[in-house]
């Protein structure tokens, strides 16, 4: 990030939040926030380092790391100083079966967006996305930004259960649910890919910065891929 315009405020008696105010695009801001969080997480005394879309929040244990020192580390990293070179971001391709039972909101969205199902699928698969943040639910990836034409609202009332693998859109983002969970996004498809492995060192497939491409597959391919897991 070229412009180090940020603001640090307390969050709880053992936390600080840095908010990045610059007018960079959302991708640059989110990836910068993620690299700050990744760099500070390993500091002794840091309990959690969570990146939001335009912020980093740290929780520290004051008996190990003083509030003053925690603030200073966050400040230095927010200035762009002392950052380790970021790892090259992995690229993954996610097969998605759109519509039907896998994407119950695809058809209703046609009206709202004034697009055909084919056009929504094409716009959704056209562009590579970046994982801008992970959160809300375990391993849930906020991917963005989506084509402006796909911008839509969340459901007013979230569904109590969204099946694992569901692919949704909301606002300027698209997201994938690695685990069954409650969710309010417009579900347009589902992937048969394994997104969660509780025994792996990295249990969730999506990590911030990952480049993600969606590839449309038909129901038959979905079943074959699902069976091959």
């Amino acid at each position: 990030m070229n412009n180090h315009d940020y603001h640090i405020a307390p969050f709880g008696e053992n936390g600080w939040i840095a908010t990045y105010l610059g007018n960079q695009n959302i991708v640059d801001k989110a990836l910068f926030a993620n690299s700050v969080a990744d760099n500070i997480r390993s500091v002794n005394g840091i309990i959690d380092a969570v990146a939001g879309i335009d912020s980093v929040t740290i929780k520290f244990n004051p008996s190990i790391l003083s509030a003053h020192d925690a603030h200073k580390r966050l400040e230095q990293l927010s200035e762009g100083a002392g950052m380790t070179a970021p790892m090259p971001n992995p690229k993954i391709e996610i097969p998605v079966c759109y519509g039907g039972e896998y994407g119950p909101d695809l058809e209703p969205l046609c009206n709202e967006l004034d697009l055909t199902q084919e056009a929504i699928i094409e716009r959704h698969t056209n562009a590579p996305y970046r994982v801008l943040a992970v959160g809300f639910a375990p391993g849930f990836a906020y991917l963005g930004p989506t084509d402006q034409i796909l911008h839509c609202n969340r459901h007013k009332t979230p569904r109590p259960q969204v099946p694992a693998g569901s692919v949704g859109i909301a606002g300027s983002m698209t997201g994938v649910y690695p685990l069954q969970s409650p969710g309010g996004w417009q579900i347009i498809g589902r992937t048969p890919a394994t997104l969660f492995d509780p025994d792996a060192d990295q249990p969730f497939i999506f990590t911030p910065g990952t480049e993600v491409h969606f590839k449309p597959v038909d129901a038959k391919t979905f079943s074959t891929l699902e069976g091959a897991r």
Partner: protein
Amino acid sequence: MGTFATVVQAGLSTTIQDLGRPGYRHLGVPLSGSADPLSLALANIALGNPASAPALECTLKGPTLKFATEGKIALGGAPMNATINKVPVEFYTAINVSTGDTLTIGQTNIGARCYIAFAGGLCASSFLGSASTYQPAAFGGHNGRALTSGDKLCLAELETGSPREITPAYRPQIGQDFFIRAVEGPEFNQLTNDAQERFFHAPWTVGRRADRMGIQLSGLSMTLDKSLPMASSAVFPGTVQCPPDGSPFLLSVDAQTIGGYPRIAQVIAADLPLLGQMRPNSKVWIAHTSHENAREITTQKSALIADILPGGLFR
């Protein structure tokens, strides 16, 4: 591993919990663990277990368990009616149980959660270093869910030391009313001046929604001065969010890791164990505290209970 106890009746919501899985919020994984970590730790310590041994968390109405073999248990937390073979059982004390004994945990009108610890700890599926059940994503604990009748519990056979007497001074005093302290949250200034004043002086009432995700505070409506669009950003147990409807929501141990509502306050770490004992209609007073003062209070309390919660209250 042999069965130690069979669940005859499951109770309202009985889950296996330990002290949670801290440090994974960047993966979207909540803290989880006991909603009242102090009571769980004390029940474990009474048996000589490690403070974090997996135990049962019972909510509002507890389970009935039948023991398949002999062993030791201890209870902690909300004073639910507890009997073994219909004889009342004392809390915070190691109790011998024999094959065929029946433990019944009833209800209480004080507090919300009672803990049953087992000498050696309970077997449970572990994820990211913790056995705690996180029901929304179905991981940890007993198949990631609350117990149901017919479930069988077995012991983890963790190394145990000698049972310890838990003196009354250590036992949490649970009442109908809760006095907690909080610091201003990152978006406190989005409240109107009037709402800022009232938030810290109101007698709040716990709403119908009071679970492991969070606690709804009712009684007053908070007005937001300016409705600034907010990018998703971190939240924690103890964060008070204020959605547009003006009804504050106090997040608890299973809360999500990021959210998009203004964060008007943060309950100090020393007072977080109390959240696990709030029940619908409990009265809650939230006192304003400075960050420095809160840090001092939590540091002192962590030192006082260092032999019970070795990791302290900053979690």
